[in-house]
């Protein structure tokens, strides 16, 4: 994968394939600690310990586990190349959390890429799934929760191009910037 946004798209596809109705995606950058953390948590069917070991190994994945194929090993490789690590916590019946750590300033750390395009592709591909997205850089955050958006849309589809356009604008600005000249509200 060329950048982290493509890894996110891939990992979240795993979560939806695991039957998740809610997927939470959080990216936290802390420049003082030279740290970038990606967390993807889902409420899908989860995995037992043996399965968690299996999805980390690109060579023993069998055809029947195809839907979790190469995605995790590729993300782990990207994290390790950037001086980081990957951790998976999973509970059968409850869900899975994938956590990837990167040294933010490492020369081999892949760029974030286009987070808006990733979230739009996910919303189009999984219109029934709810997503929480949060991107924070040194405490300044941008995000959305599709459960809140749906409430305000009152039945209008989340995948309407106008809604996706708003999401693209929101994620296209630096985290924390709300697009208002006067700064607007900040609930931190």
């Amino acid at each position: 994968m060329e950048d982290l946004s493509l890894h996110i798209l891939d990992i979240v596809e795993n979560a939806t394939a695991a039957g998740a109705t809610l997927v939470e995606i959080r990216i936290e950058e802390r420049s003082a600690e030279d740290r970038l953390e990606l967390r993807v948590r889902d409420n899908g069917r989860g995995m037992d310990e043996a399965m968690v070991e299996r999805v980390r190994d690109p060579f023993v994945t069998t055809r029947t586990t195809r839907r979790v194929g190469m995605g995790i090993p590729l993300l782990e490789q990207s994290a390790r190349e950037a001086g980081g690590s990957l951790e998976i916590r999973s509970t059968p019946g409850r869900g899975t959390e994938v956590r990837a750590l990167f040294r933010a300033g490492h020369i081999d750390r892949r760029p974030l890429g286009d987070l808006a395009e990733t979230m739009i592709a996910l919303l189009l591909g999984h219109p029934e799934t709810d997503f929480v997205f949060e991107h924070a850089v040194d405490g300044r955050a941008t995000g959305f929760d599709t459960r809140e958006i749906r409430e305000h849309l009152q039945g209008a589809p989340l995948t309407d191009p106008a809604v996706l356009g708003l999401i693209r604008e929101l994620l296209g600005r630096p985290p924390g910037a709300d697009g208002e000249a006067d700064g607007g509200e900040d609930d931190g």
Partner: protein, 127 residues
């Protein structure tokens, strides 16, 4: 935290109210971009972005755009399947943004499969 503005969502809700909901099956064409690990690594996301842009710019109301997982033809990715109602689904392989534009104009909007870009005809389960 910066979020979407409620007034923007309310405005869209007003505009969209009363229009046909494509998810209820009232669509003319369904376009599925294959979004497995193989597809994503090969460039499926720009294909999807291109299709969304064309739908959005053209104000197209009767085309549904969605994604599916790996179809088992990883070396042919990026792929998409175009299903015009009452016609056989057509799979397109080794796509990029330009090919997606041609297929959108010729098949999705024009109704004629772009034979030289098609891999095979067939169906699959999506979602």
């Amino acid at each position: 935290m910066a979020k979407l503005r409620i007034e923007d969502l309310k405005r869209i809700q007003e505009e969209v109210k009363g229009t046909v909901n494509l998810r209820d099956g009232h669509y003319r064409v369904k376009v599925t971009v294959h979004m497995g690990t193989c597809g994503i690594a090969a460039g499926a996301r720009p294909v999807m972005s291109t299709l969304l842009r064309l739908i959005s710019e053209g104000g197209v109301q009767d085309v549904i755009l969605t994604s599916s997982g790996c179809a088992g033809l990883c070396s042919h990715e990026p792929m998409m399947t175009v299903e015009v109602q009452e016609q056989a689904p057509v799979k397109y392989t080794r796509l990029d943004a330009q090919k997606a534009e041609r297929i959108f104009a010729g098949h999705v909007m024009g109704g004629k499969p772009v034979a030289e870009l098609a891999f095979a005809e067939g169906s699959e389960t999506t979602g």
